[in-house]
C-alpha cells in the first residue's frame, strides 16, 4: 500500500471509530472492507496460478497509539488471502527479505510432502535473501491457512499467517445455505513483549550466523542441527550443551499473550460483520494463534457447516464455538434478529487490550438495514454529548 493510501485508509478507520453515528454510512463500510484480507490476484502461467509472497519486517498498528514490529507477508497482517478453485495448479514464489530463516506451511492442504514447509524435515529453511518455489495442486476444498513453520512460536504470533481458501463450483455449503456474502476472520494472540525480545534476539543471532555462512563455516553444534538423533546424543555425551540447557535465547519464559487480534487488529479496530434482515452470511473462522477461543454470538444461533475446511455431514446450530489453535471452522449466520450484536471470545481474558477490558477480539454483527432511530441513545447519553450506538468504549 502506498503511503498516501495508507494515510487515507487510516483516517477513514479513525473516523469510523470515533464517529459511531457513521457506522452504517458508506465511509464506515469502506473502512471496514479494509479490515478483511483482500484476495491476491494470481498471474497465470499457462494453467498454473502463480502468487508472489514476500516476507519483511513491518510495523503494525494494532490499535491507535500502539504499534509493534511484526513479520508480515507482503507488508500486511494477516498476509493476503490466497483464493483458488479446487484442483487448480498453484505456484507460490516465496521471497525472504528478512535476515531470519522462514518456510511456509500450507495448513490443511494435501500438498506433496516436499512442499509442506517444515524445516529440516521436508526442506531446508528459506534463508535470508533466498526465494523458494512451492508448487502443488489445490486440495481439499474449504477454509485453510498458511503460516511460517520456522521458529513457529515467534513467527506466527509475529504475523506470519494468511488465509488459503479453496472454492468448489459445486460447493455443498452454498447449495444448502445460499449465502450472498462471506467474511474471513483470522484470530491470533500476541505476547508483544516476548515477540519484541525474541525477534531482537533472533536478529542478533542471525547476524552472527550469516557472517559464518558467508564464509562457508557451518558448525553443527553452533547451529544446533544434526544429521540424526544418534549423532545428537553422541555430541551430548561428548560434552555438547544443547540450547535448552544454556538457554541461548533471550526470553526464558513461555509467552503470556496480552493482545488478541482479529485480522491483525484489536477492538475497537476489529472488523464488523455486516448483514441484512433475512440474509445468510458465511464466516470463515481461522485460529492462527496459540490460544483457544470460545466465540459467542449474541442474539443468534449460527450453523456450524465446516470443520477444518471439511463440510460437516449434518450442520448443527449453537451460539458458542470452540476454536482451538490451528483450527478452522465455517459458520452460517442467518439475519433473523435485527440489531447490532457483539461476537466475542467468552473467555473474556481475550477481550482485553494489555489487560484492560474491553478490547481484544471483540467485534460486532451489524444489520446494515437498521433504522437510525433504533440506534438513538437515551437522555442520559445525550447529556454526556454522545450521538448514537454503538459507541467506542475503551474503559468499562
Amino acid at each position: 500500500m502506498k503511503r498516501r493510501e495508507f494515510v487515507q485508509a487510516s483516517a477513514m478507520v479513525a473516523a469510523a471509530a470515533f464517529f459511531p453515528s457513521r457506522l452504517l454510512g458508506k465511509a464506515s463500510k469502506e473502512a471496514n472492507a479494509h479490515r478483511f484480507p483482500a484476495p491476491m490476484e494470481p498471474r497465470m502461467d499457462g494453467d498454473v496460478k502463480e502468487f508472489r509472497l514476500f516476507i519483511d519486517i513491518h510495523q503494525q498498528e494494532i490499535v491507535p497509539a500502539f504499534r509493534i514490529h511484526t513479520l508480515a507477508f507482503n507488508n500486511q497482517v494477516p498476509g493476503p488471502e490466497i483464493r483458488v478453485q479446487r484442483g487448480d495448479k498453484v505456484r507460490v514464489l516465496f521471497e525472504n527479505r528478512t535476515e531470519l530463516n522462514h518456510t511456509i506451511h500450507w495448513h490443511g492442504l494435501h500438498v506433496p510432502w516436499r512442499m509442506d514447509g517444515v524445516p529440516y524435515v521436508t526442506q531446508m529453511p528459506v534463508m535470508p535473501g533466498q526465494t523458494f518455489v512451492y508448487e502443488f495442486t489445490a486440495e481439499p476444498y474449504g477454509t485453510h491457512f498458511y503460516h511460517c513453520h520456522w521458529g513457529t512460536l515467534l513467527h506466527m504470533q509475529a504475523g506470519m499467517y494468511g488465509s488459503f481458501i479453496i472454492e468448489d463450483p459445486d460447493d455443498p455449503i452454498r447449495k444448502k445455505f445460499p449465502y450472498s456474502r462471506e467474511y474471513t476472520l483470522v484470530y491470533s494472540a500476541h505476547d508483544v513483549n516476548f515477540l519484541r525480545e525474541e525477534l531482537n534476539s533472533m536478529l542478533e543471532r542471525m547476524k552472527e550466523r550469516m557472517y559464518l555462512m558467508k564464509h562457508g563455516r557451518f558448525d553443527k553444534e553452533r547451529f544446533a542441527v544434526f544429521d540424526s538423533k544418534e549423532e545428537f546424543v553422541d555430541a551430548v555425551e561428548k560434552g555438547y550443551l544443547p540450547p535448552y540447557v544454556v538457554n541461548r535465547r533471550a526470553p526464558d519464559e513461555l509467552p503470556q499473550p496480552n493482545w488478541f487480534t482479529v485480522n491483525g487488529k484489536s477492538y475497537p479496530m476489529t472488523p464488523n460483520l455486516y448483514i441484512k434482515q433475512d440474509e445468510l452470511i458465511r464466516v470463515r473462522l481461522i485460529n492462527a494463534g496459540t490460544e483457544e477461543h470460545y466465540l459467542h454470538l449474541h442474539g443468534h444461533d449460527f450453523w456450524i457447516v465446516a470443520d477444518d475446511g471439511l463440510p460437516v455431514p449434518q450442520p448443527w446450530q449453537c451460539n458458542t464455538i470452540r476454536l482451538s489453535p490451528g483450527k478452522t471452522a465455517d459458520i452460517i449466520i442467518e439475519g433473523k434478529n435485527r440489531g447490532i450484536w457483539t461476537f466475542h471470545d467468552h473467555d473474556t481474558r481475550r477481550v482485553t487490550n494489555n489487560g484492560l477490558y474491553p478490547g481484544g477480539n471483540l467485534l460486532a454483527l451489524v444489520y446494515e438495514d437498521l433504522p437510525d432511530e433504533e440506534t438513538e441513545l437515551d437522555m442520559m447519553a445525550k447529556k454526556m454529548g454522545l450521538n448514537n450506538l454503538p459507541l467506542v468504549a475503551l474503559d468499562e
Partner: protein, 395 residues
C-alpha cells in the same frame, strides 16, 4: 480546619489516590556484579597478600517507564563496596540518578559515572589502570579512586544518525575537605566538558566490521589556581581521544584493539609532584591500549584474554617523571555470567612518582566474577535494539 485535621486529610488523600488510580507497572531492572579475588602484592620488594578482595562488587536497581509523550523516564540507584582503604565507609552509593530520554536526546541528572574516560578497558576492576585510563580529579586528595569515577553530574546528549553522540556535561567532582573539615559543604559546578563520539551500537557489531568507536572529549576543571590572572587560566584542561577497532570481527574468534590518550594541559607552575593534587594538575600525557581475544563457542563468551599497556609522562616537571603499566588477564566462563579469572599487573614509576608510589608494584590476582543483568515488566524496546535501529523506531 486546624493543622492536624488538614494533615490527616492530606495523608488520607496521599494513600487513597494511588489505590484508586492504580498505576502502570514500571520496568524493574536489576544488575549485580560480584568480584572476589585473592591478591598477592609486591611493592618495591615487600610482599603482602589480601585473602579476600571484594572491591568493585556492587548492585544496581533501576526503574523505567514510558512517559505521557515520546519520552521515557528512569531512576537508578546503586551501591558498591569500595576499596578497604578508601575512607568511603563499608558501602558507597555510586549511582543515584534520573534519566529522561527520547529517541535522540538523553538528559541525565544525579550521581553517576563522570565522563573522565571515553571507553572502558578489559581489566578485572574498573580502576585497575585508573592513573592511565581516566582524567584525574584535581579536587581530590587521591584517597580513593571513586572520586575520579563518580560525581554529581548533569549531562545532555544528542544522537545523530544513530551513532554520532554529542554530549555536554557539567559536574561537581568530589572535593576532599581540608582539615579540620570532615565533609564537603560546597556542591557547586566545578567541571564542564563536551565530547563527540562515533560509536557503532553493540547489536550491529557484525555489520560494521572495522571501526567500532572513535571519540574526542574535552574536560575542564574550574580549579582554584594560585596566581591565576583570570578565570580562564584557572581552568585545568584535559583532552581525551579514543578508538576501538575490530581487528578480526569473527563471531567465534574475535579480536579487537582499543586505545585512549589523555592530554592534560596542566598548570605551568607545577614542577614537582608532592601529592595527588599536583599529579592531577601537572602537564601529562597518558596512553593506554588493549588487545583482546574473545572465544565464543556457542554464541556465548567462553574465554577472554587481554593484554594492556599503559604509558604516562609528565614532560614539564624538573625531574624526568613517567610511569608504565602492563596488565594481562584471562577470564574463563564456568557458567552463564560466571567467570574464573586470573590477572597479573605490573606498574613501574620513575622520577617524582617514586616518592609517592615506590619503584614498582606487582599484583597477582585470581578469583571469580559473577554478574547478572535482569529486568521484569519489560514493556518497550531499547534505543539500540536491532528492531529500533533497522526497522523503524517505536517510542
Amino acid at each position: 480546619m486546624n493543622f492536624r485535621k488538614l494533615l490527616t486529610v492530606l495523608l488520607a488523600l496521599g494513600t487513597a489516590v494511588p489505590a484508586v488510580l492504580g498505576q502502570v507497572k514500571p520496568e524493574i531492572q536489576l544488575g549485580a556484579r560480584g568480584v572476589m579475588s585473592f591478591n598477592a602484592n609486591v611493592v618495591s620488594g615487600e610482599s603482602t597478600t589480601a585473602v579476600n578482595d571484594f572491591s568493585d562488587t556492587g548492585i544496581l536497581l533501576g526503574f523505567r517507564q514510558k512517559l505521557y509523550n515520546l519520552f521515557r523516564g528512569q531512576l537508578v540507584i546503586g551501591m558498591q563496596f569500595p576499596d578497604a582503604e578508601s575512607d568511603l565507609g563499608q558501602v558507597f552509593f555510586h549511582q543515584t540518578f534520573i534519566k529522561v530520554e527520547d529517541q535522540k536526546n538523553v538528559l541525565k541528572m544525579g550521581r553517576t559515572r563522570v565522563r573522565s574516560a571515553l571507553i572502558e578497558f578489559p581489566t578485572l576492576r574498573d580502576d585497575d589502570a585508573l592513573l592511565f585510563t581516566d582524567v584525574l580529579n584535581p579536587f581530590s586528595n587521591g584517597e580513593n579512586t571513586e572520586d575520579n569515577q563518580y560525581g554529581n553530574v548533569i549531562e545532555l546528549a544528542h544522537v545523530f544518525a544513530q551513532r554520532y553522540w554529542v554530549r555536554i556535561h557539567g559536574e561537581h567532582f568530589t572535593e576532599s575537605p581540608e582539615p579540620p573539615a570532615t565533609s564537603e559543604t560546597d556542591f557547586s559546578l566545578n567541571a564542564i566538558g563536551v565530547s563527540f563520539e562515533y560509536r557503532v551500537p553493540e547489536t550491529q557489531i557484525w555489520n560494521r566490521p572495522f571501526v567500532q568507536q572513535l571519540g574526542v572529549g574535552f574536560n575542564n576543571f574550574l580549579a582554584n589556581r594560585e596566581g591565576g590572572a583570570n578565570r580562564a587560566n584557572q581552568v585545568l584542561k584535559n583532552v581525551i581521544v579514543s578508538a576501538i577497532l575490530n581487528l578480526r570481527p569473527d563471531p567465534v574468534y574475535f579480536w579487537d584493539a582499543r586505545g585512549q590518550v589523555i592530554y592534560n594541559v596542566g598548570f605551568d607552575e607545577v614542577k614537582t609532584l608532592a601529592g595527588w593534587r599536583d599529579m592531577a594538575r601537572a602537564r601529562s600525557v597518558a596512553a593506554f591500549a588493549s588487545l583482546r581475544f574473545l572465544y565464543r563457542k556457542l554464541e556465548r563468551p567462553t574465554l577472554q584474554a587481554a593484554l594492556s599497556l599503559g604509558y604516562k609522562t609528565f614532560p614539564e616537571l624538573l625531574e624526568k617523571t613517567r610511569q608504565t603499566q602492563i596488565v594481562a588477564n584471562l577470564f574463563y566462563r564456568l557458567g552463564e555470567n560466571f567467570d574464573a579469572v586470573f590477572q597479573i599487573q605490573h606498574i613501574q614509576f620513575e622520577g617524582s612518582l617514586r616518592a609517592l608510589y615506590g619503584r614498582r608494584e606487582t599484583r597477582i590476582q585470581f578469583g571469580f566474577v559473577y554478574s547478572i543483568d535482569q529486568s521484569w515488566n519489560r514493556q518497550f524496546d531499547d534505543r539500540e535494539s536491532l528492531l529500533n535501529l533497522e526497522h523503524g523506531y517505536i517510542p
